[in-house]
Symmetry: C2
Subunit: 216 residues, 2 copies
């Protein structure tokens, strides 16, 4: 929200709601055209005809600008830091509980459903989300997870976790199949946490070893 | 495909492409309005102004009509039967491999991506898909899985499996994050099969026991 809503409209001035909307329009166009990495705060400011300091003022960072442009109701990097704050051994259960809390929350939950629907519906928004997730969530989580471990393995572990958690959100909140949709978060966390523990910390077959060598 | 494409167009006649399209239009309208259970072959035939026998001729069954109307490129009930054909102990690995085969296939894969995007994009199509999946896949799989087990537990097991597999499809084929997108199916199956084995056949906390009693 703008912090300074001047009563008089005198064109593009700092703090006007139209200015913020203009920045978001420019951001959406540039993110769509150039991707997350290829878009700078400066280029968005130029596109919107404002000073880059104003973009920083409204959105804090390029990540914040992206979240606002995509209407992403959470700060995934912050959640990742919270999840790993008590150490890697606690991370699986914290992750499942944090995730269920966000999706079950009466405010963020419906916004997340709407965000997921929109993000998956079109190729361009999916590509953008992939780039953002890879650049922020996967990188942050990988750095917390694994000192000195092969980055491809770390990325795979995090993507397996993400696959389970996204699928859970789809089943519980988008498809909303019973009993998955209504069961208590505690019970669901108990059922799913062992999966996340194995993906994050357990033994996984190395891709090259497993090929042509299916499990018994 | 119609089996009889007469060269002359003389209105609605059996075997004309327009007739098939007309049936699908009527089916989409009725499924959307009345749901899967509330729609009959007869009502679709009436809506399309054709004989019910013609609907059977083109689409075989209400399930077949639904798949065609939703542009669903697979027959999920048939796949479920295949997965359980070698017994319940073999089902987890067969399920993961069948699923990856369908999604990795150069023909059905892209059609599945398109179907998933469309089905999740709008509330109405999601509701319809939920009803269809519950009436067909969940019921078929539950009956194969568990003789005499609590139906709610059977449904939960199948939904947990579905959550992992849908999430895997989203990660590998829709978001297409690396290394998940390109890793060999064998390696991915080896990583995911233990999850499916636990959800289908392993110990799961009972919902009422797990509530308020989180795992250590």
């Amino acid at each position: 929200m703008p912090i300074d809503e001047a009563p008089r409209r005198v064109g593009r001035r700092p703090g006007q709601p139209e200015t913020r909307a203009e920045i978001l329009r420019a951001a959406r166009a540039l993110f769509a055209e150039r991707g997350f990495a290829g878009t700078s705060i400066r280029s968005v400011a130029t596109g919107a005809g404002v000073d880059p300091a104003l973009v920083h003022h409204y959105f804090g960072s390029k990540e914040g600008l992206f979240r606002a442009a995509m209407e992403m109701p959470i700060q995934p990097e912050e959640l990742v830091k919270e999840i790993f704050a008590a150490g890697v051994e606690q991370a699986p259960e914290r992750l499942v509980r944090t995730f269920l809390r966000v999706w079950d929350d009466p405010e963020t939950g419906p916004a997340m459903v709407s965000f997921l629907r929109t993000a998956l519906a079109r190729q361009e928004s999916t590509s953008l989300l992939r780039e953002f997730l890879t650049a922020t969530v996967v990188r942050t989580a990988a750095s917390r997870l694994l000192g000195g471990v092969d980055p491809a393995e770390a990325a795979l572990r995090i993507e397996l976790v993400a696959s389970q958690m996204i699928g859970l959100a789809v089943g519980r909140r988008v498809l909303a199949v019973e009993p998955l949709a209504s069961m208590p978060a505690d019970a669901l966390a108990a059922a799913v946490t062992p999966t996340i523990t194995r993906y994050l910390l357990g033994e996984l077959p190395a891709p090259h070893q497993a090929a042509g060598n299916p499990p018994a």
